[in-house]
Symmetry: C2
Subunit: 257 residues, 2 copies
Amino acid sequence: MPVDVYTWEPSANSGKPLLCLHEKQVPFVHHYVDLEQREHHEPAFLAINPGGTVPALVHDGLVLTESTPMMEYIDDAFDGPPLRPEDPALRWRMRWILRVMDTSVCPALAMIAANARAAPRLRDMPAAEKQAALAKIPDPERRRTWELVMHDATPPAEIAESQLRVADGLALLERMLGEYPYLAGPAFSLADIGTMAVFYHLPASRPDEVSAARTPRLWAWLARCHARPGLQAGFAMGRGAIAERARAARGALGLAA
Amino acid sequence: MPVDVYTWEPSANSGKPLLCLHEKQVPFVHHYVDLEQREHHEPAFLAINPGGTVPALVHDGLVLTESTPMMEYIDDAFDGPPLRPEDPALRWRMRWILRVMDTSVCPALAMIAANARAAPRLRDMPAAEKQAALAKIPDPERRRTWELVMHDATPPAEIAESQLRVADGLALLERMLGEYPYLAGPAFSLADIGTMAVFYHLPASRPDEVSAARTPRLWAWLARCHARPGLQAGFAMGRGAIAERARAARGALGLAA
């Protein structure tokens, strides 16, 4: 049975199944859902996932959502290189870091990005159009977040708090990579995929915080991950800025861009 | 090697490893951490888990946190009845429902409980003592939540939103239990443990919303779960209100209390 995957760009939650399927060498049919055009709140996509979130994966008639359980499904359901450690302690470590990324670092990064990029773009949208767009968001918490973004009204203290969470996340990764070459042990795993999906751009985007001198282990890990053909193929699926940022990151790391 | 578990009462996140270890029939040493006395923010506990969160589990020198990955570890690392389905689709279903509980239903229930029970209790605490208690909370988001609770200042709209999330959660469970007798398929699993840890009290606490007439599948599932010796032994570890609420729930279900 073919696998159908509905995602935006190969970044953050949308990136997880794309990078994972490429690493697992599973063929799939890709359906691009344009978040900037809010296609995820349109009837065509809501017919597939009524929750209105990407990514969604359809396999054997089953519609899967939630990118982290989705990655475990991909590793469970398909042949290909294993992407989870065998050892229970390392498996817990893998799930623990994915959880920290999902509950703390990713929401912080998303909030920073929304306020830095989406807010200026949405500033001049007519009020009626804003209301119509907000009314289509099924999840109330996301609706509230986007209401603040659309009116450029996110409190600066909340943005500062998010910046702090990202900095804490970087320090955590540097520390964990002192114990093993990959985040969940000696071998590449879903923990690395989930983290690369949000942090692939670090070498180019945060050169003052992340560099061979300041964060040597994180730098070496970024180079090891960006050299992987699977991840490269995943990032190459980006249509614009994301593929560009991945190329810039590889360039900063001294890899063939 | 013995397992050491640090938890509060067998409810919510603290309940997950306790119920899970009893179901798995794994012997363990239990250390009670009194949240109402804020023992989780005291140096003795922070020496074990610097994050200041319960539950924490110590096994073979490894300190594990985060209750949901911790349950998967217990099922991975110990002999005993398997608590996860073999089928990848059902395994995804198990992780999906745990995720919905963790990210939507549980925070909503915790917020309702904090405002209903902790806020009145804390109203008359001296301001300096409040500040000192807040300063000890390592996580900034928890700190903000508790600041609102301590000053009885949570916006009513946020409490109403939380009530709505709980109602949505109950409707979801009733729907899912129409497909299988347990939340992740034909067999009892971690999905049932995680959900029972927060919803065990429903038959007694929300009789207008949950009953044999209104939610017949959820009612039958609650009876099936409450009849299990493992869960009964877990809830019996409660020192006060929690064990009492579990007994009241079994009584409402017509089981031997």
